[in-house]
């Protein structure tokens, strides 16, 4: 879908949602769910930032580290990809306090989701970096660049262009995964929906509205990532033409 029709879709969906919400009986649920959406957005942004950092560190460690570092990175990636996000969340929430590490639930949520998505992201980063043509590496050797220099100036900037679409998918996965933080008592959209459902029993309205809010947030992520993609591609094209 081209960007403009996506934007139009998002606006239409939002307007339709608002119209339905104000005419049908579910106006009363909007403020509560939007408050929850704020928490969801907060966790999503925190998780995305952590995921990108973790993914880059793990990918670089796996590709260029000495063997103990590489082994550590592989263990991290396999453990977080091999178990489910909910198990990781509960583990951090229930088990870490026993080691004397007590964190507030919000931090635990960002940590669990960020590390989980970061493990998947590490493979994305690794794939994109290995996909950079060999000639680029050879050129950096010819220019006598150190490995860190060539990665930072030549290889990674090119890899980032290829990385953006898969990262967009991962960010949407992360947004969807934030629903599980309601199970460790964080009042996000899913938690508010359940709470309101328990007091009012208006299940259809509440859960439909919750789904629509998640859809709108996912669309926002798609739009932002499209924008990034265009920016990055433009930068690359300019670099190549000079």
């Amino acid at each position: 879908m081209p960007l403009r029709s996506l934007v139009i879709c998002a606006i239409l969906a939002f307007a339709a949602g608002l119209a339905v919400a104000s005419f049908a009986g579910f106006r009363e649920f909007v403020p509560g769910l939007l408050e929850g959406a704020l928490v969801t957005v907060e966790i999503t942004i925190g998780g995305c930032i952590l995921a990108v950092i973790a993914a880059f560190i793990a990918a670089m460690a796996k590709m260029y580290g000495s063997w103990p570092v590489r082994w550590l990175a592989v263990t991290y990636i396999e453990i977080f990809r091999g178990t489910s996000a909910l198990v990781q969340l509960f583990w951090l929430f229930f088990v870490l306090p026993r080691f004397g590490l007590t964190m507030d639930p919000l931090t635990v949520a960002i940590l669990a989701l960020g590390l989980n998505v970061g493990a998947y992201g590490a493979e994305v980063v690794r794939g994109a970096v290995t996909a950079v043509p060999r000639g680029q590496w050879e050129a950096t050797i010819a220019l006598n660049m150190s490995r860190v220099q060539s990665l930072r100036r030549i290889i990674v900037p090119q890899a980032i262009v290829a990385m953006i679409p898969p990262w967009g998918n991962l960010f949407i996965e992360l947004l969807k995964a934030t629903a599980i933080v309601s199970l460790i008592t964080i009042s996000d959209i899913a938690f508010r929906a359940q709470q309101m459902n328990a007091t009012t029993y208006r299940t259809t309205e509440i859960f439909s509205l919750a789904l629509v809010i998640y859809l709108a947030l996912a669309m926002v992520i798609t739009i932002i990532m499209r924008q990034f993609e265009r920016l990055a591609a433009r930068g690359l094209a300019r670099g190549a033409s000079h």
Binding site: E78, I79, R81, G82, T83, S84, A85, L86, V87, Q88, F90, W91, F94, V95, R98, F99, I172, L175, K176, A177, T178, A179, I180, S182, L183, I189, A190, A193, Q194, N197, T203, T204, F207, S208, A210, L211, Y214, L215, A218, M219
Partner: protein, 221 residues
């Protein structure tokens, strides 16, 4: 209080292993739904008339970009409002199946797109009825997409702990109950993590094996 109590860990292991049978049941049933419904979605979206394919594409996009947990709640709490009362396990399996059907339909779509055009043209040349067209052409798309479907099987397996939110007695819910009864969460939750890790690593190895087999068979002239 110790960090890790071996006696306790051994005591609860059989309970958790028994619960893992429920997890595997949910995985298998959910994946059967996902594989069949996904094929129906893909065929409807690619070959259906416009009034079917456009809303279907929108529906698939909608399911794919909203959280599975809310979909589980939706089926478990909203369907009874309209007279469809489901036990927790059935609701959970349906939600898992529906959610992953949308992912599988994209896999099938890629598979169909990879069938050489000549195959479709041949069915037109032979004047085959749609039934025979599908019967003869679609099976060609299956072998190359088996590994991709396998990856979604593992992903579905890793999403089954979400069923604990509607109190299905699978691994995670059993671990939580043990935890709240004994105030020891370290052992049950760690063991659940290890069980998941073992299953997923074994599954990943099996997928790699199947992939190698299929590649060998297709590259042999």
């Amino acid at each position: 209080l110790k960090f890790w109590d071996w006696a306790f860990a051994w005591e609860i292991l059989p309970i958790l292993l028994r619960a893992s049978i429920v997890t595997l049941e949910a995985t298998i049933l959910g994946f059967i739904i996902a594989a069949i419904l996904g094929l129906a979605f893909a065929i409807g979206r690619m070959f259906g008339p416009k009034w079917l394919s456009v809303p279907l594409a929108g529906f698939i996009e909608f399911i794919r970009s909203t959280p599975l947990l809310i979909q589980i709640f939706f089926i478990y709490f909203v369907f009874p409002e309209y007279g469809v009362i489901l036990p927790a396990m059935a609701a959970g399996v349906m939600a898992l199946g529906l959610h992953y059907a949308t992912y599988c339909s994209e896999v099938y779509r890629a598979g169909f797109a990879n069938i050489p055009r000549g195959q479709w043209e041949a069915t037109i040349a032979l004047n085959l009825l749609p039934y025979y067209t599908f019967r003869d052409v679609i099976p060609q798309a299956i072998p190359p997409i088996v590994p991709a479907l396998g990856n979604y099987l593992v992903a579905l397996f890793k999403d089954t702990p979400l069923l604990s939110a509607i109190a299905v007695l699978e691994l995670m819910q059993t671990a939580k109950i043990i935890g709240s009864d004994t105030f020891r969460y370290t052992e049950p939750i760690t063991e659940v993590g290890i069980i998941f890790l073992i299953f997923s690593l074994v599954a990943a190895a099996l997928i790699r094996l199947v992939e190698a087999r299929l590649n060998r068979r297709t590259t042999r002239p």
